[in-house]
Subunit: 384 residues, 2 copies
């Protein structure tokens, strides 16, 4: 190290999905960096992109944790849902991570078929917050198990879905198969006063070959044979909803997020934003980067998708804007993506220290992270 | 990069045994380093430690390749053996890599049982060179398939091994079982005029629990049941040889190298040296490091053994003496050895970019090396 003042190192990784949350990644990286030399100031900025871990990341820098009890999960069973309230320059905002309610990793939610899962709980949470006076919402919409086009949420907010006989239908893919009419006259009027921001890294539309069902349905349990039928159900649903509410959104980028919840939110006036960019703003990443000499980011696996606005790219771009080089340390880095990734990062590195299985990487993730961060820091210090 | 003069980067890896020779490793590393920026001067110094690849490494920096035909291989079949002649400050020296004659990777040699393998070819090559007037020899003794205590070599140089009836015995472990007397009166007198240097990274003695048979026998095919018996044969052989020649060597460090060839060479007056140190001298590593800003070394796998004088450690120590940081880039780095390795290197790194099998690493070694070297160089450049 050249001079007296401690060098400032910013640690701003996303979570390593399936193995370690972003705060855990920061902690492990910090241990390693300090092993290479303790004469540094470490600024830990756990990142997220709107998916699982968004609440954790945003609230790690301030704000209040809250819990709403008796919210309907994807399967219909009640559960508790955490949310956050943070202060922004425009006033307090409610942060909702929909994976808290309809998460793909929730065993209870995925115990029922995807055709019976519903986003009703999202609408219930919004209504509860509206009752409490909240009017600004940010919704991280990654990691959902649902594919209901947001019908459950709309129903919980007053929209009625009926069959040809005028009977109310369940707001689920199964129920919507007999959808004949949508009545939005009872839609909660307070939504018109609201600012809704959709945090997502998904730009897919609701339907079609790049739509929610085709692209994300299979990982939620939609069988290949059922994709076309379910896609048609959502297409018909969307056109009826658009007519009833008077807003078009089915072709908007991000309407395919969270099984079409992105569509329903945009019908309600939500603006779709890069989840990682909004999280970066909320956690004050730019301030943390000010005066820093080096940043390390990372995620579970880096590939070409990383370059379409994932958290590590957002960190690298913002760091570059303040003259700070950013190194990527992910669980794995796809070799095919290296040439493109190399242009964005001051080196791209992965966890294994030799031939190793995925299971071994996951089992040992914190140790491997600390070891790799230490070695990167040793090289970085030697080069300075 | 800060200033105008191109930074000088020294690439000084050992071979990645079983996948790529040291020159290939240098070439792959150079490709990667240049991808990170072409404004550098690269000095490639393939290293070796006295084992396979020693001739390649030494002769890559100058000297002449030669071949002696009709040399006896380990199995008794004739073969051609390459050797080198290099000029040193003390005059020309013959470099012999014994793996060229009795190599463990030679399918023909290991086709016969270890009890019948012999180092006779080493003695034949020495005799041929003595006939040509050579008096200075350096023998890289790593990677042998033999366990004959060097009896074959001594026999080729004039020593007679006899049974109780005075009949000549084959100079092999099997033959020596009936050894009763050793006659060194016909030992080639020209050896007394010679300088012999044994290049090795082995400090084991000839016999006992740390001896050649116990430690290295099994990888050559010595069965567990046969270790004690063979060890006793070599112990008796050694005491008779020592008495006949008038030199004690069985307990000297390195006498257990190459199945006891180290013993026989030391009986002939050879000095045992660190193979990596001698190779570093022969290839002019210190000169290459002069004015350099960074060095990269590596080997197939780095573990605690690396710290007992393997090529990467020798590179790092010499580089440090001239103020050059050295980064380790190996096929794999054992996690348990990291704390100790970290003290010697400016970062320790491995080939995989994610979970990966050993076979996949080996199959793709050159690509992975170039990729990793590129990423290391990107971090190094960003930190400067």
């Amino acid at each position: 190290m050249r001079d007296g003042a401690p060098a400032v190192i910013v640690l701003a990784p996303d979570s390593f999905k399936g193995s370690l949350d972003a705060r855990g990644v920061c902690a492990a990286m910090a241990i390693g960096v300090r092993r290479a030399g303790d004469d540094v100031e470490i600024r830990s900025c756990p990142m997220a992109d709107g998916g699982e871990g968004t609440l954790d990341a945003v609230l790690s820098r301030g704000g209040e944790w809250h819990t709403q009890h008796e919210v309907t999960g994807a399967s219909g069973r009640h559960r508790a849902a955490r949310y956050g309230v943070v202060s922004t320059t425009d006033g307090p905002a409610t942060i909702i991570e929909i994976a808290e309610i309809v998460g793909l990793t929730d065993a209870d939610g995925i115990a029922v078929p995807v055709g019976e899962r519903s986003t009703a709980g999202i609408g219930e949470l919004l209504r509860g917050r509206l009752d409490a006076g909240a009017r600004r919402f940010m919704l991280g919409v990654g990691g959902s198990s649902t594919n209901d086009g947001g019908a459950g949420m709309l129903a919980a907010l007053g929209v009625r879905f009926c069959d040809a006989a005028g009977e109310a239908l369940a707001p689920t893919p199964a129920g919507l198969q007999r959808l004949a009419s949508v009545d939005a006259t009872e839609l909660d009027g307070r939504l018109a006063e609201c600012s809704l921001t959709l945090l997502s890294d998904v730009t897919n539309p609701l339907c079609g070959e790049h739509g929610a069902t085709t692209i994300f349905g299979p990982q939620k349990g939609v069988r290949a044979d059922d994709i076309a039928g379910l896609d048609a159900v959502l297409e018909r649903y969307a056109s009826l909803v658009e007519r009833a509410v008077g807003v078009r959104a089915a072709r908007a980028p991000g309407s395919g997020a969270a099984g079409g919840l992105g569509f329903a939110l945009q019908v309600l006036g939500a603006v779709s934003c890069s989840g990682a960019e909004v999280v970066a703003e909320l956690i004050g990443l730019d301030q943390a980067l000010r005066g820093a000499t080096w940043a390390i980011t990372g995620e579970g696996e880096s590939d070409v998708q990383t370059l379409s606005g994932k958290a590590p790219l957002v960190v690298a771009r913002r760091a570059r804007a303040t003259g700070v080089p950013t190194t990527l340390l992910s669980g794995a880095v796809r070799s095919a993506a290296l040439p493109a990734l190399a242009r964005e990062f001051a080196g791209c590195f992965a966890l294994p220290a030799g031939p190793m299985t995925l299971d071994a990487c996951i089992a040992d993730v914190a140790t491997l992270l600390a070891d790799r961060a230490e070695q990167l820091a040793r090289l970085w210090r030697a080069a300075r």
